[in-house]
């Protein structure tokens, strides 16, 4: 191989072709920018999590339990601590504006100097440290906005009114979105008792925070004491545990984002491949000349490969630069979900890997058409009628195809760390692209069949442009179609989830849940609800318990034995269980047989588990396990498995006991009702807060509103990423327009010579691009509706309804934009005088 000549030739030839070649690689810029920005953000976030790991927990050690405990249980840890703090945390109703407004809040009471690391940032700044002393409360800023509160206003918690002396702006280590459903109110620890909110059976989280400087001793103590304290029902956490769990959840988030960014990159690479195909076709004569003059097949191939590598490096570098800039905006996009503030930092590894991935994928996709250069016969210099070499398939194309699959699979595995997940991703992607390709080919074939039906010359020409040789319609429809499909799918799923929640508001379903009702309050609350004219749809006893043993192994042993593959939350969580003798409408027995009643002295109690719970516990009918109910161990066996429809608004339970054994256990009650309007609901909540301050009310209207906000934020992030695919589609569109410019110019001249006026040429182009937009939207819509239906029905198990407004608005926007591209592209062709165009061509 004559490398000097290859380099010289690539450079000289590239001088003229460079702008055109550069447009090829512009399609990958957005994908690389997405990868670089997301990876940089991920690295910055991980760095920040590492640097501020202690602030995530606020302490070195945390032990918590949903019941009171003796601090002596934690004595081995207290011995190591230089400082300690206690927290009580629970949800409750809060009254505002002298009982005129109320809502569910998360109440926290802290004794001690927690957080030891990080801060509670308040306005005014002194409020965070003075509220305990002053006997006032500090509350989330969102409450101030929602109820128009100002400092000095009062807030009623239980039977006590507190003065609002500060608004919480930020709490180290906590994400803003965490308090969306129940904004936080910090009350002085000493004042908690006087509120009367904590009643027997109330779901109160008791937490101990310790500051322990000697990490080694702490870990040693955990090793020695973990079994004992786990058996006592504690969940313990260290800085390393917290860091790991936070890091893992954000790894999942950034991996998901990276996969969407990667889709944009693949679309861009498909765009590069199709553009290189056109480039190669335009270079066939040149290849023939070089071959005639004595260049070998590999030398000619190397000339064009060098050019593609060169422009891919430029494209990748621009993408990396933009990605580094995008990183600046990502934290603000995700700020509500982040437990730490992430600053803009330069991440060389992320930039390098982004460039490497972009470059590799771009070159691999370009190789498929580029390899056809090797098929070009030097005889094309003598005979212009020779077969098009790009139609012949070079054998090495299959090797490149395999490399592409391996590369895509490798990337997906790198992100998901799961063979199955990466296989699903790759198969899903290939299936979607194949479907879009099929749909777009079908639509083109349809256009070919109906073209004769139109009498208008311009419309016929516009339609015919879709299927003539060298056109880009299939690739454009596929690439922009995928962007449309992703965005539409996200909006459709979001609107279906919200529909499902709204549905409950309009269909006589329960929409108000009262909980934490003490046994001695049940009758009074029931009468109160009925007096107000609302039905008592359900009245359910709740007993709190923890899993004590499973198939002969203690909870601790189950957690420790990774071969069992049982999630730790199965052991750690507190189960809220009910007992009854009948099944309710949301339940169906799918295995075993339902036992509704047993006698008090039954040795092994037959219980029913939900399908998911049985799966998580890895139990089958007849398997035995035991629960700890306030120190009493109840031996149970699995008698039945239920399929539970959680979308129905009623009290559904993963663990269901028969009547006869739990009646005397500590318990509280839930009452489910239905109010008819928002106004009635607000008034009812206020009356409840005034009469029964310890009872909390979940108002589905408020839940719907919050869900709307949270889903809106999540869907915004995903839509933003999906938008990258659409932008890539537009870049491919620009590249395609540029690639076919000379052919279009020639056609324009021909039509003008034959008597077509300017407006006709503009209309023909505009019609063509309108149809490309329409077909892209149709193809995308078909895929989006299909996938949104499948996800709604099979994964979310909610009813699917077709939300036409988002579908139509996005679709219209895409059609208008693509049509506009076509129109703008036609203007210079139509305006140029025929003679000058002839000379250019």
């Amino acid at each position: 191989m004559n490398w000097i000549w290859i380099f010289n030739m690539a450079t000289r030839d590239g001088r003229q072709s460079l702008p055109r070649l550069f447009l090829f690689t512009s399609s990958i810029i957005i994908g690389i920018a997405a990868l670089v920005s997301i990876s940089s953000f991920k690295d910055s976030l991980n760095e920040k999590i590492s640097n501020e790991a202690k602030e995530l927990l606020g302490a070195d050690f945390r032990a918590r339990k949903y019941s009171k405990y003796n601090e002596n249980d934690l004595a081995p840890f207290y011995q190591l601590a230089s400082d300690s703090a206690k927290e009580r945390s629970f949800v409750s109703m809060a009254g505002f504006k002298n009982g005129k407004s109320s809502r569910l809040v998360s109440v926290k009471a802290i004794e001690g100097n927690y957080p030891f690391y990080g801060d509670i940032v308040t306005e005014p700044a002194s409020a965070a440290s003075s509220y305990q002393k002053l006997g006032g409360v500090i509350a989330d800023q969102s409450l101030f906005f929602q109820f128009g509160l100002t400092l000095g206003d009062s807030i009623k918690l239980g039977t006590t009114k507190f003065e609002l002396i500060g608004q919480i702006l930020e709490v180290s280590g906590q994400a803003g979105i965490g308090s969306a459903f129940a904004p936080t109110v910090y009350v002085p620890f000493d004042a908690l008792e006087q509120t009367d909110l904590i009643q027997p059976g109330s779901r109160v989280l008791h937490i101990t925070y310790l500051k322990i400087n000697d990490t080694e001793k702490l870990l040693k103590t955990i090793e020695n004491e973990e079994k004992a304290i786990t058996d006592l029902g504690f969940r313990i956490e260290t800085v390393a545990d917290r860091k790991k769990s936070v890091g893992k959840s954000f790894d999942n988030l950034t991996s998901f984002m990276n996969l969407v960014g990667f889709i944009a990159l693949i679309l861009g690479a498909i765009g590069v491949g199709s553009a290189v195909y056109t480039y190669v076709r335009s270079k066939i004569k040149e290849v023939g000349v070089l071959r005639s003059l004595g260049a070998s097949r590999n030398e000619v191939f190397a000339v064009f490969l060098t050019q593609i590598i060169f422009v891919s490096i430029i494209g990748s570098a621009i993408g990396a630069f933009l990605g580094a800039l995008f990183q600046y905006f990502l934290p603000s996009l995700l700020q509500d979900f982040l437990p730490v503030s992430v600053d803009f930092t330069f991440q060389p590894l992320a930039i390098f890997s982004g460039v490497f991935i972009g470059l590799s994928i771009s070159i691999l996709f370009a190789l498929i058409p580029l390899l056809q250069v090797r098929n070009t016969s030097p005889m094309v210099t003598l005979n212009s009628f020779l077969d098009d070499p790009t139609q012949k398939l070079e054998k090495s194309v299959f090797v490149v195809g395999l490399l592409i699959l391996l590369f895509l699979g490798g990337f997906a595995f790198w992100q998901t760390k799961s063979l199955l997940a990466s296989a699903i991703f790759i198969c899903g992607l290939i299936l979607t692209i194949t479907l879009l390709w099929g749909v777009s080919s079908g639509l083109r074939a349809f256009a070919k069949n109906i073209v004769k039906q139109f009498s208008s010359f311009t419309v016929r020409q516009g339609i015919a442009n879709l299927y003539r040789p060298n056109n880009f319609s299939t690739i454009l429809i596929t690439v922009t179609g995928l962007g449309v499909a992703l965005i539409n799918m996200i909006f459709l799923i979001e609107s279906n989830i919200l529909n499902q929640l709204s549905f409950t508001q309009t269909n006589k379903q329960p929409n108000t849940i009262l909980f934490d009702i003490q046994p001695d309050q049940v009758n009074e609350v029931q009468s109160f609800v009925t007096e107000k004219g609302f039905p008592v749809l359900q009245q359910v006893p709740i007993v709190a318990m923890r899993l004590h043993s499973l198939k002969g192994k203690s909870g601790f042993e189950v957690k420790q034995d990774s071969t069992l593959d049982i999630p730790s939350h199965v052991v750690d969580r507190e189960y809220r269980v009910t007992y009854r003798d009948t099944l309710i409408s949301s339940e169906v027995i799918i295995d075993g047989s339902w036992v509704g009643k047993v006698s008090l002295n039954t040795a092994i109690i037959p219980v029913s588990l939900s399908e998911n719970q049985a799966k998580n516990m890895k139990v089958e009918i007849g398997d035995e396990f035991s629960f700890n109910v306030s120190g009493a161990i109840l031996n149970c066996k699995l008698a039945s498995i239920r399929e539970v429809d959680y979308t129905k608004i009623q009290t559904n339970f993963t663990v269901l006991f028969p009547k006869g054994v739990l009646e005397s256990a500590p318990q509280n009650f839930v009452i489910v009702s239905r109010v008819n309007s928002r106004e009635e609901s607000a008034a009812f909540q206020n009356q409840m807060v005034n009469k029964f301050p310890n009872i909390s009310v979940i108002d589905l209207d408020q839940v719907l509103k919050t869900a709307n906000e949270v889903l809106g934020k999540i869907s915004f992030v995903i839509s933003f990423l999906a938008m990258l695919c659409l932008i890539t589609g537009f870049l491919v569109l620009i590249s395609a327009i540029n690639n076919t410019k000379y052919e279009r110019v020639n056609e324009g001249i021909l039509l003008k010579t034959l008597g077509a006026v300017k407006s006709k040429i503009i209309v023909i182009n505009t019609v063509e691009y309108f149809l490309i937009g329409l077909f892209a939207v149709l193809a995308g819509a078909i895929i989006s509706v299909g996938s949104a239906w499948a996800i709604s029905v099979f994964a979310l198990k909610i009813e699917f309804t077709l939300a036409l407004i988002p579908l139509l608005s996005i679709s219209t926007l895409v059609i208008v934009m693509i049509t506009l591209f076509g129109y703008l592209n036609a203007l210079p062709i139509a305006k140029k005088p025929s003679l000058s165009i002839l000379r250019v061509s």
């Binding site: 000097i4 004569k285 005639s292 003059l293 260049a295 097949r297 005979n383």
Partner: protein
């Protein structure tokens, strides 16, 4: 005299749409070094196919071509390319200049492929010879048809080939320009001592070579010597 090209029972059949078309049938002749020869005949007689096979651009269905003592049958695609680069020059009807390269760079291509030192200097000298010393940095689209063919001639001769194949070298030019190109072609041919194989349907041009082979329906119809007055 030594034969620089030997064509033995050469045949070429194309298959298209399941049908075979025999374009060239058992053609045999040889060309002596330093001579010039024209291949003439009507359209479809197999002239261009014969030129392509002789130059090693295409592969024969049967028979063989020996160039400078080397049988083309035994060479693969890339070995034939190397042979072309070393022994063969081309002039095409539609010039076949690379549009993205300047006139100088176009002439440098075969020189650089052949790893010749001072490629730019040699190319420049040949452009001077064809009268385009002042147009070296111009791109093909900035040159007229006659100028483009002169660049093509410079490119063909710059590598000092033993054989020059010319396919209708004046086919796309007007009479006046054709005359100038013919003069340059034969002048350089004589100066460099190159063997010239010319495909044309222009009998006036053909008569300027030493020998004329007439093709008809893929076979040699006549093979005659011409008394050239130089």
């Amino acid at each position: 005299m030594e034969a620089i090209i030997k064509v033995e029972n050469l045949g070429r059949t194309y298959t298209s749409g399941g049908k075979s078309l025999e374009v060239l049938k058992d053609v045999s002749f040889s060309v002596e070094k330093g001579t010039s020869i024209s291949i003439v005949g009507p359209s479809g007689s197999g002239k261009t196919t014969l030129l392509g096979l002789c130059a090693g651009l295409d592969v024969a269905s049967h028979g063989d071509v020996v160039i400078a003592g080397q049988s083309l049958k035994s060479l693969n695609e890339d070995q034939r390319a190397a042979l072309r680069n070393k022994h063969v020059g081309f002039v095409f009807q539609n010039f076949q200049l690379i549009p993205t390269l300047t006139a100088l760079e176009n002439v440098m291509v075969p020189l650089e492929l052949n790893r010749k030192p001072n490629a730019a200097k040699i190319a420049s000298e040949y452009l001077e010879k064809v009268g385009l010393g002042d147009r070296q940095t111009h791109y093909p689209k900035q040159l007229s048809g006659g100028e483009q063919q002169r660049v093509s001639l410079a490119r063909a001769f710059a590598n000092k080939p033993e054989i020059l194949f010319a396919d209708e070298p004046t086919g796309n030019l007007d009479d006046e320009t054709s005359d100038k190109i013919e003069a340059l072609l034969f002048g350089l041919n004589k100066e460099e001592g190159t063997t010239l194989v010319l495909v044309t349907h222009d009998l006036n041009l053909a008569e300027k070579t030493n020998r004329i082979i007439k093709l008809k329906k893929g076979e040699i119809f006549s093979d005659s010597q011409v008394n050239v007055v130089s």
